[in-house]
């Protein structure tokens, strides 16, 4: 079986994979990084979102072999070095941007990619960017609010709290 090597959350990892092994399978089963979730089989839900070389990628749509040599970041790599929640994670907790938590890793990864590109997005830009991430629990309200808050914008005017 072919071997694949990559850096995941700053750590060099490698493993043998089949040609058909998806990146998400390599992460979840090979590396025990089960924070990246699988919510669909048509690349629609975004629960599996990770970063590959800084870009937002649905890890269910790429083969592990295709990211050989890449730098991969998953939800497990998003906390601060001291283990406390990172800025976006903290905003999700502060604004109740998650309920069951299943879509959450993908949402955080998508939000991080958005803010890296567009540090002060509008509400419409946030909603548009999250088009590929489905959440069934929150009605998106607090997710959008959390992303706006993580960007440093004042969200106190958004609906009563």
């Amino acid at each position: 079986m072919p071997k694949v090597t990559m850096r995941v959350n700053g750590r060099a990892v490698s493993g043998e994979v089949e040609g058909r092994t998806l990146l998400v399978q390599f992460l979840r089963e090979g590396q025990g990084l089960t924070g990246t979730h699988v919510g669909c089989d048509t690349s629609q839900c975004g629960a599996c979102t990770v970063h590959v070389n800084g870009a937002q990628v649905k890890s269910c749509t790429v083969f592990a072999l295709d990211v050989d040599g890449a730098e991969v970041t998953t939800i497990e790599g998003m906390a601060n070095p001291d283990g406390t929640l990172g800025r976006i994670q903290q905003a999700f907790q502060d604004h109740h941007g998650l309920q069951c938590g299943f879509c959450t890793p993908g949402m955080v990864m998508a939000a991080a990619a958005l803010l890296a590109e567009n540090p002060k997005p509008t509400e419409a830009e946030v909603r548009h960017h999250l088009e590929g991430n489905i959440c069934r629990c929150t009605g998106y309200h607090n997710i959008v609010k959390a992303v706006l808050a993580a960007s440093g914008q004042d969200v106190s005017a958004i609906a009563a709290e």
């Binding site: 299943f102 069934r136 009563a160």
Partner: protein, 792 residues
């Protein structure tokens, strides 16, 4: 000022830390030594006779360990319906057996008829494909349309059920004639035929189950995506596999949403357990999303004719409905209660209507089973009522706000007995309506409409005033109504020797935040830091026998059990304190975490009492057991009745038919609030789902019974840009009168109240634009709106 701790504080959720860092543990995240993989063969046809399944080639494939077919389970028990409903003529409902794997016939696309267990997932998948190729199924004509199913006795989903009818239910049958009389003489009657569209629940975590068997002890363990581990254990053990209940542990670890679909026991759970026993190895299965679409219990799917009788001023005289309710191919556990007692009993709404009659015919079809989905029956009732009321207002040229207001049950009428058998304990429907009008700035609507019009958009305002019965449920009532289970809940409060606390609860959190909110309540009552309270849920080997979470019951039933257990702890603490402080028990008071003797400065802290209970050196051992642990079961004596008023504003693009929700305002009465942040989140989620039902989500079976909308490519889940920010107000509070927390439950409200508000807004927008359309069925898609405009 909101409180910053305890009851009523918007406490941030402790469970979020693990979810945000990728350390939640959902069923599929578990890895168990020696695990094997199950893959199911599912019917490609909606209806067919299984002619043969040749397992020879499959069994010889690499990695294959076992193959199961319906034949292997033909002698085990069936998965039962939880409610026995009787037809109008007194006959019990028809109750076909629901097997672990289909036997003899397949009855819907996705019906599992075989399973393959292999060393790896890929091997199991490849082998299942082989087995499907070696299976001969004779396709029969599919029964999809409910009216046709009832009309044609020759084509049957279940051979023994001639007209595909499960039951024909009248509620309340004795009122039928009286209601008919009212309609005969009523000055005005409005009739509306509508469809309450079938929905696929789509919890983001697909169903998953792992079966284990321990030959040394004969114990089984099922780890599964369940909203109610004890109920699942009862069903699997007592009804399906015949395992002694005490030999089966059911664990529901972190569960990624349920919305009803994970209440029920499914055949896959029984299969992995039976296979684990046979192989002596753990067997795991995780649904692919397509399997979830095909095999999770769906929701809604009613076709209803509703009639409203009133005088010319819009005073309601009677409601009457005739509904065909789809149960799909088999009876899922709550499927017979959902269209009946969770629907018909709500058909008076918050209104003082004197006469109501509800008729529901529940029909088998070759489609996936249909059961409770967030709101369950109550959204269907609310939608019918709130739509027909709007239609009547238009016909009589009356103001929909004023018509609702003058028909409301008023505050001086509680407790109020409805003509459909419920007793509303308390409420204030005028207050929530006023609040919605204020917060939703109805005064400013005309200006917003004019502004929309400038951009060529039609703006509309929709209202719905809803009520629900939740906190499910009083066992004595549901027993009379046909329930085969009790619907109490339970909690154990274990004070440890060092004073911190483990609370084992029967409720299950799959997103609701119990770990935080329940801890707030216990800490508040005991005057100790929240951080010293841990909530344990989801594992039958740890928690008392509770019934789990659905029907907005966690707080209103289990939360109350928990506070009752806390009360027992305090009572015992007083006895211990009395002994230690050499005072009489009657003189001991408990406040802010201290037991003290009235009128003195003598006191013991909660921690000191706990320590003494476990190190009983100075302790009344002759009269009191050591230890500090109490369990309480709580069975409510009535439902709770949250209610509210929802306002929706939409813009319709007359050129494309596209509807955009501009604002959504909720004024809810949930009684007392334990954590406002969590309450708002629950409402947001429900409203998001309601907007999804109203505008996007369509479950379409074609005439051959193929599920055309079986993936996220075809089934339109609401996305972030389909919804606005919502405004949620919960300041109108009439505390529940029959539970000590005064809580009512908030989990389903959003999904119940929102669909009619959205559709009423669309119809309003069209009318204001001169397009006289009386109704559009959900989902109110651009295509439907556009055709309605063209045909108007």
């Amino acid at each position: 000022m909101p409180k910053d701790f305890g009851i009523g504080a918007p406490q941030k959720r402790r469970e979020d830390i693990r979810f945000l860092t990728g350390r939640g543990v959902y069923t599929d995240d578990l890895k168990i030594a020696g695990q094997t993989y199950a893959v199911f063969c599912r019917s490609q046809v909606a209806h067919g006779r299984i002619v043969s399944i040749d397992t020879t080639a499959t069994a010889a494939m690499p990695g294959v360990l076992a193959v199961f077919t319906g034949e292997d389970f033909k002698d085990v028990g069936g998965n039962p319906a939880g409610w026995l409903i009787k037809s109008r003529n007194g006959e019990p409902m028809r109750e076909p057996k629901r097997p672990v794997l289909a036997h003899g016939k397949v009855r819907h696309v996705g019906d599992a008829y075989a399973a393959v267990i292999a060393e790896t997932y890929q091997q199991a998948k490849d082998a299942a494909e082989q087995l499907a190729a070696d299976t001969v199924i004779d396709e029969l004509p599919a029964i999809v349309d409910m009216a046709a199913a009832v009309a044609d006795a020759s084509n049957r989903v279940h051979d023994e059920i001639p007209d595909n009818l499960c039951f024909d239910w009248g509620w309340i049958e004795d009122n039928r004639a009286k209601v008919e009389e009212v309609f005969k003489t009523a000055p005005h009657v409005t009739t509306l035929e509508l469809v309450n569209n079938r929905l696929v629940p789509n919890a983001m975590e697909p169903r998953a189950s792992i079966g284990e068997y321990f030959p040394g002890t004969g114990d089984y363990k099922l780890t599964t995506t369940s909203q109610n581990p004890h109920l699942t254990r009862l069903l699997v053990a007592a009804f399906v596999l015949g395992i002694p209940e005490n030999k089966l542990t059911v664990v529901a670890p972190d569960v990624g949403g349920g919305f009803g679909s994970k209440i029920y026991h499914y055949g896959e759970e029984a299969l992995v357990l039976a296979a684990a026993k046979k192989l002596g190895r753990p067997v795991r299965w995780t649904a692919e999303r397509t399997e979830s679409f095909l095999s999770d219990a769906h929701g809604r799917d009613h076709v209803t004719k509703i009639e409203l009788a009133c005088d010319k001023q819009g005073n309601f005289l009677a409601f009457r409905t005739e509904t065909l309710a789809n149960v799909g191919a088999y009876l899922s556990n709550f499927s017979t209660a959902t269209p009946t007692f969770l629907h018909g009993t709500l058909m008076a709404g918050p209104y003082k209507v004197p006469a109501v009659y509800v008729n529901v015919k529940t029909v088998f079809t070759n489609t996936a089973p249909v059961d409770a989905y967030r709101g369950a029956g109550r959204p269907e009732a609310t939608f019918s009522l709130e739509r027909v009321i709007d239609k009547m207002c238009r016909e009589l040229n009356l103001d929909p706000f004023e018509v609702r207001r003058k028909n409301f049950i008023t505050t001086d009428m509680f407790p109020y007995t409805t003509p459909v058998g419920l007793v509303y304990d308390t409420g204030n429907y005028q207050a929530t309506l006023d609040k919605a009008i204020e917060v939703g700035d109805v005064k400013g609507f005309e200006a917003r409409r004019a502004e929309s019009a400038k951009r060529g958009k039609l703006r509309g305002l929709g209202l719905s005033t809803w009520i629900e019965a939740c906190g499910i449920a009083p066992s004595h009532l549901v027993g009379v109504l046909g329930s085969r289970v009790g619907l109490y809940d339970a909690a154990t409060v274990r004070v440890n020797a060092t004073g911190n606390i483990s609370v084992m609860v029967g409720a299950h959190s799959h997103g609701q935040g119990h770990e935080t909110v329940f801890a707030q309540i216990v800490a508040d009552k005991l005057g100790i830091p929240e951080a010293s309270v841990e909530i344990v849920h989801g594992d039958t080997s740890k928690i008392p026998f509770g019934m789990g979470s659905y029907g907005s019951r966690s707080l209103a039933v289990c939360g109350v059990a928990m506070t009752k257990a806390v009360d027992k702890i305090v009572a015992k603490g007083k006895k211990i304190a009395a002994h230690m402080l050499e005072a009489s028990e009657a003189d001991i008071s408990f406040e802010n975490g201290k037991f003290s003797v009235a009128g003195t400065d003598k006191a013991k802290t909660f921690g000191e009492i706990a320590f003494s209970a476990y190190v009983p050196h100075n302790y009344p051992l002759e009269t009191l057991e050591p230890g500090l642990e109490e369990t309480a079961f709580y069975d409510p004596n009535n439902f709770t009745y949250p209610a509210g008023a929802y306002l929706c504003e939409v813009e319709v693009d007359p050129d494309t038919g596209k509807v955009q929700v501009c604002s959504f305002t909720c004024a809810d009465d949930f009684g007392n609030i334990m954590n406002p942040m969590v309450v708002e989140g629950q409402v947001h989620g429900g409203v998001g789902q309601g907007i999804g039902q109203a505008l996007c989500e369509n479950t379409h079976y074609d005439e051959n019974g193929q599920l055309v909308t079986g993936s996220y490519m075809d089934y339109a889940m609401p996305r972030a840009s389909d919804v606005p920010f919502y405004t949620v107000d919960y300041s109108c509070q009439t505390p529940c009168t029959h539970n000590p927390l005064g809580v009512k439950g908030c989990g389903e409200a959003g999904a119940i109240g929102s669909p009619p508000a959205v559709v009423n807004a669309v119809i309003d927008a069209l009318h204001r634009g001169g397009i006289k359309v009386s109704h559009i069925d959900m989902p109110v898609s651009p295509a439907r709106v556009w055709s309605a405009i063209q045909n108007a």
